[in-house]
């Protein structure tokens, strides 16, 4: 069809630190775009490229946004945000899901309107303005995450009875989905009419796709969660493209594999995550491809929630029944073991077996560290001396003295901040890269380790492009 470069584009959350790639093709003010084709597009959409020029994906750069927000001229914006966050967390102990959605949506409209009034945002357009809008969404939702994401809210309020209807339904539906997945986790690809091109590879890709999707729980920003979801879908298409070549690879092949991934992946709190995205991601951002793949996940969830034996194609009922009952017995045993507290959630995570506690036991992920420290940077920045109303709930470990704060307000960034954060980002990136390398090595066991590493370096450890190149090489 078309070359691998064109098929897989990267949506890596790590791109926040990737300064080299903020080439905003088509929006560069010096080299004005030679057409108006791309102006109204959002980054995830396909664009027609003129004159055979390579289009660079406009990467989201949160650090850039943070720097822009520290510009003296945008101080009123900071005040607005601070005031909103403060009121959100102090006015009421918990808002209903609908109230939260409306508050965030209305504030966002308000603050996006204000971007047009204050530099450096005032003179931005196209992708730069989009970056600022994404940045604002990430900033706000990062701050409000523990109050808006249902599993965290449950933790905060202690009991499901304390939740409002909307949030309670998220938790209940997550539980329902988990029950169904447990009941049918044993099924084999052909029960869903998945053609097994290469069973060994299929399992590896399904596992990778599931673990990519599971990363959805490691991020707070709606956009970052969407990126995990898209990466997961991309891995599925990577398999289809290379091992299931006799088919068209449209939805006929994709949907069954997506369902299979959900059944095998034991993704924690998936429904809560999807609802969170729908509530707090700006609707205009969920357009086109994002919208399609979110809808597909919803479709797959709907299929599993309503799954019963009639929805499967079963050639041998006896064998099916045997597996079904063996699984039931195993489930009961696992439940007992859980109750006795013998299952260590850590082991479950690594061995890939379903983890009953995963939903409630959201592991702290290294990515959170960076996000948190960025937020705390902003926090400190918010906590300017003349402000009397400090949001008490937003206190962080990295609180600075007021002298430093003043410094931060006056300069665009303090050297300390930059150094701290870039160090942290670097450490995290190294961990993450090692993880990617390990995964890829297990997917391509026959391949030279150094070669895999070279591909990773060349592709900046973005899993999508790496998988694609390795597939091409292994052919």
């Amino acid at each position: 069809m078309s070359s691998q470069k064109e098929i897989l584009k990267e949506f890596d959350p790590l791109s926040t630190n990737n300064k080299d790639n903020i080439q905003l093709a088509g929006y560069d003010s010096k080299g004005a775009p030679d057409t108006i084709e791309t102006v109204n597009h959002l980054p995830f959409q396909t664009k027609e490229v003129q004159d055979g020029e390579e289009e660079e994906e406009p990467f989201f750069d949160f650090q850039l946004f943070v720097k822009e927000l520290q510009d003296n001229r945008s101080e009123p914006l900071v005040k607005y945000i601070k005031s909103f966050l403060h009121n959100f967390v102090t006015q009421k102990s918990s808002w209903t899901a609908d109230e939260q959605t409306k508050l965030v949506a209305d504030f966002r409209t308000f603050i996006y309107g204000k971007l047009a009034l204050f530099e450096p945002f005032k003179s931005m357009d196209g992708a730069k303005l989009h970056n600022a809008q994404e940045g604002l969404e990430k900033l706000i939702m990062g701050k409000l995450y523990t109050r808006c994401f249902s599993p965290y809210l449950l933790k905060r309020l202690g009991s499901i009875e304390n939740l409002d209807d909307g949030h309670r339904k998220d938790i209940e539906d997550d539980y329902k989905l988990k029950q169904k997945i447990d009941e049918f986790r044993f099924i084999e690809p052909d029960y869903l009419d998945i053609s097994i091109g290469n069973e060994n590879k299929l399992m590896k890709f399904v596992k990778l796709s599931g673990s990519e999707l599971n990363k959805i729980n490691n991020f707070k920003a709606p956009r970052d969660k969407v990126v995990c979801l898209l990466n997961s879908c991309k891995v599925i298409f990577g398999y289809l493209k290379h091992y299931d070549t006799d088919k068209e690879n449209g939805a006929d092949s994709f949907i069954p594999l997506l369902i299979y991934t959900l059944l095998k992946g034991s993704i924690a709190s998936l429904i809560s995550n999807i609802r969170y995205i729908e509530r707090f991601r700006l609707e205009a951002f969920i357009r086109g491809e994002e919208e399609y793949y979110i809808s597909s996940i919803e479709a797959a969830i709907g299929f599993i929630i309503n799954l019963d034996v009639r929805k499967l194609s079963i050639k041998n009922y006896q064998a099916y029944n045997k597996m079904y009952h063996e699984n039931k017995v195993k489930l009961t045993e696992e439940e007992h073991e859980l109750k006795r507290g013998r299952i260590k959630s850590e082991n479950d995570q690594t061995s890939g077996t379903p983890n009953g506690n995963a939903a409630m036991d959201l592991k702290k992920h290294p990515f959170d560290e960076v996000t948190n420290s960025m937020f705390s940077m902003i926090n400190d920045f918010f906590a300017a001396p003349e402000q009397s109303n400090q949001p008490t709930t937003l206190v962080d470990t990295r609180t600075k003295t007021s002298a430093q704060v003043t410094n931060a307000t006056n300069n665009s960034t303090t050297p300390v901040d930059t150094e701290d954060i870039s160090h942290l980002v670097q450490r995290m990136e190294e961990n993450e890269n090692q993880e990617t390398l390990d995964t890829l090595q297990s997917m391509f066991p026959g391949m030279d380790k150094e070669l895999i590493e070279d591909v990773c370096i060349a592709k900046k450890y973005r899993i999508g492009p790496c998988v694609d190149i390795l597939l091409t090489l292994s052919d």
């Binding site: 078309s2 209305d106 308000f110 309107g113 006929d252 491809e289």
Partner: protein, 225 residues
């Protein structure tokens, strides 16, 4: 709102105004009828560099034409669905808010035609229940390069536009999508203003929504509006 550099202005020779429209199209039909082939044929044609998509289940393409006064651009989103019977119940998730439905069958298989008929029925009853919604229905007979009997004129053909195409030989495909794009009522197009990327930065819109936020923020006790 000021426009700060000329980059985004319409710059065509005659300074024509650009009208844009986003169009959602959903593909329905039994698996193996060639739904995906039709769109991949369309999106990877000679004049299209189809890039940056995650996979063939979602594709998009710009269709653009110029008339005496204006430039028109349609941003066509193509949503594929799984055609197997067992996944049929998932289709409503895909066809909500769609503008166009292509219901595809294989002209050499009467079974797939029957399936197509039932899709038409389902969409009709969906539209009956959803007041104010409008979906253009196209019934597409694929594989017309193969020998086949002509489709009996039935009631369903009155409800939708019928076309025969061949994805394999690239017959009738470009014409089909062009017809779809040009069939969009002009009132669905929006004049492209130079410097706004999102509706929310539009001044009128901001004023309107700001009011609602003002109301709400009274509840929050917020004092900065």
């Amino acid at each position: 709102m000021e426009s700060n550099n000329g980059a985004n202005e319409p710059r065509d020779a005659n300074d024509k105004e650009v009208y844009r429209c986003r169009l959602k199209l959903v593909l329905l039909g039994e698996s193996s009828v060639g739904k995906t082939s039709i769109v991949t044929r369309f999106t990877t044609g000679k004049f299209q560099r189809n890039n940056a998509t995650i996979g063939a289940a979602f594709l998009n393409k710009n269709i653009r034409w110029v008339d005496e006064d204006n430039i028109y651009e349609v941003d066509l989103e193509i949503w594929d669905t799984a055609g197997q019977e067992r996944y049929r119940s998932l289709a409503p998730i895909y066809y909500r808010n769609t503008d166009v439905a292509l219901i595809v069958f294989d002209v050499t298989s009467s079974n797939t035609f029957q399936k197509a008929r039932s899709w038409v029925d389902e969409l009709r009853s969906y539209l009956d229940n959803e007041q104010g919604k409008e979906i253009q229905l196209y019934l597409i007979g694929n594989k017309c390069d193969l020998e086949h009997e002509s489709i009996a004129k039935t009631a369903i053909l009155d409800m939708c536009t019928f076309k025969e195409v061949s994805a394999k030989r690239d017959e009738g495909i470009q014409e089909l999508f062009e017809e779809i794009a040009r069939g969009i009522p002009t009132d669905k197009f929006i004049l492209q203003s130079p410097s706004n990327q999102l509706d929310v930065t539009d001044n009128n819109c901001t004023v309107m929504l700001k009011k609602s936020f003002d109301d709400l923020s009274k509840n929050v006790g917020c004092n900065y509006c």
